[in-house]
Each structure stands twice: as structure tokens, then as C-alpha cells.
């Protein structure tokens, strides 16, 4: 299941809801990405105090659904949940959640990592950081995210 939303989500409640009542599940892996406090990371002494995630409505849902489908074909999964937020968020807030449930722990771990690596490089989201002077700057894509993705291409 995928959800693209502006509202926050409750990580705990989502995981609890997903596992409930399915006794074929042996392991549930989850990953939540949060807005970090970027203090001290910029050279000019400004401080990032919020970020805004822009996305491409329509394509986002399409890509997330494709990524879920790919994971389900690759691993024996009992359930999959992807939630990605857009809009303005402050440090400590949730950005993204993936949860995978499988009979086997290896499948749960690997598929969750796969989903995150694909999200990071294929889902059409863009981060605009806002510093304490009110200036916004677009975050550049990281090569390490492409590297993370490449390990799944075999």
C-alpha cells in the first residue's frame, strides 16, 4: 500500500496496524526517515530550520506503486507500506516510512532497504532547505544514493 500525504503519520500505529492478525508474518522491518537538525552544516553560519518537499503529483504515486510491485516480485512479502510526505517540515518530523512484513527476516530487511534506495533515487521529490535568514536552497542529489541503488541491479 502506498500513501502520499501532507499530514504527519504515527510510525508506531502504522506498524501495529500492518502486522495485526496475520500469523504468516515472521518478521517486520520498518524504516522511518526524519528531518535532521542541520545546525553547523553550512559554512556561512546560517542554520537550516525547515524544509519543503515538492513532488510531482501523479508521477509520485505511479513510481511508488511500481517500486512496491518490484519489491513484491523480488521477495516473498506478506505486506508492504510506503508513506511519503510532501510540504513543509521541521527538524524531528517524519518524512517517509517503509514497512515490510515477511515470513523471513532476511526478506523483510532487504526489501525495506531496497524500497528506501529506490525511493531516494526514483521517486519525484525535491527538498528545498530554508535557513534562519529565510533563504531557500534546493538540495543537490547525492552520488552515494545512486551507489546504494546500483547494488540491487543484478
Amino acid at each position: 500500500m502506498i500513501r502520499v500525504q501532507k499530514e504527519n503519520f504515527d510510525v508506531g500505529a502504522e506498524i501495529n496496524a500492518l502486522s495485526h492478525g496475520n500469523t504468516a508474518i515472521g518478521g517486520i522491518c520498518s524504516f522511518v526517515g526524519l528531518v535532521r537538525d542541520f545546525q553547523h552544516t553550512k559554512e556561512d553560519n546560517t542554520r537550516v530550520c525547515a524544509m519543503t518537499l515538492e513532488h510531482y503529483p501523479g508521477m509520485t504515486e505511479k513510481k511508488l506503486a511500481e517500486i512496491e510491485e518490484t519489491a513484491r516480485q523480488r521477495w516473498p512479502l506478506e505486506d508492504v507500506l510506503i508513506i511519503h510526505r510532501y510540504g513543509r517540515m521541521e527538524p524531528g518530523e517524519n518524512i517517509v516510512l517503509v514497512v515490510t512484513a515477511s515470513a523471513h527476516r532476511q526478506a523483510a530487511f532487504e526489501s525495506a532497504q531496497f524500497l528506501m534506495d529506490f525511493l531516494k533515487t526514483k521517486a519525484p521529490f525535491w527538498k528545498l532547505e530554508e535557513d534562519n535568514t529565510g533563504t531557500g536552497s534546493w538540495v543537490d542529489a547525492r552520488e552515494s544514493d545512486d551507489d546504494a541503488l546500483s547494488k540491487w541491479e543484478k
Binding site: G33, L53, E54, H55, Y56, G58, M59, K62, K63, H84, I95, V96, M116, L119, K120, T121, K122, A123, P124, F125, W126, K127, L128, W138, V139, D140, A141, R142, D145
Partner: protein, 83 residues
């Protein structure tokens, strides 16, 4: 054809979406970019060879030599940074 811009391409070009009339000679994704570059300095710079951009055709990642058709949704954006 409807052309969408996201992230710094949107802010640089100054709009999120516009309708572009393409000449008949424009047949591929690469042709569209070449044509847009002729629309003015802002376009030429935003879509310059030194810029890393991605194109989606009808909400799928597209290659430069993919063929375009009437009614396609054409989107231009930087590499994604979500998650």
C-alpha cells in the same frame, strides 16, 4: 504540449506549467529540449549542457531519443532528493 517544471527548474524558468506549441520538426525528447533552449536566455541557461536534468514523459522517466506524441505530458526536473 503541456510542459511541467519542478524544483529549481520551476523557480528558474518562473512557472510550474506551460503549454508549448511545437513545430512539426520536433519529434523526440531531445528535440523538445533543443526547441525550448531557443525560447530565450532563461531557457537556454536552465537547460544548458552543464545542467543535470531529468525528463519524464507521461510520468515515466524518458530518454533523449524517445518519440513524443500529441497530448503527451512532458516534465523537466533535477535529480530527485526525497526520502
Amino acid at each position: 504540449m503541456k510542459v511541467l517544471y519542478f524544483a529549481w527548474l520551476r523557480t528558474k524558468i518562473g512557472c510550474a506549467e506551460e503549454e508549448i506549441d511545437l513545430p512539426d520538426t520536433v519529434k523526440t525528447v531531445g528535440d523538445v529540449l533543443d526547441y525550448l533552449r531557443t525560447k530565450g536566455e532563461v531557457y537556454a541557461e536552465a537547460l544548458g549542457e552543464d545542467k543535470v536534468i531529468r525528463v519524464a514523459l507521461n510520468q515515466d522517466y524518458a530518454q533523449m531519443d524517445d518519440t513524443i506524441q500529441n497530448g503527451d505530458e512532458f516534465a523537466i526536473f533535477p535529480p530527485v532528493t526525497g526520502g
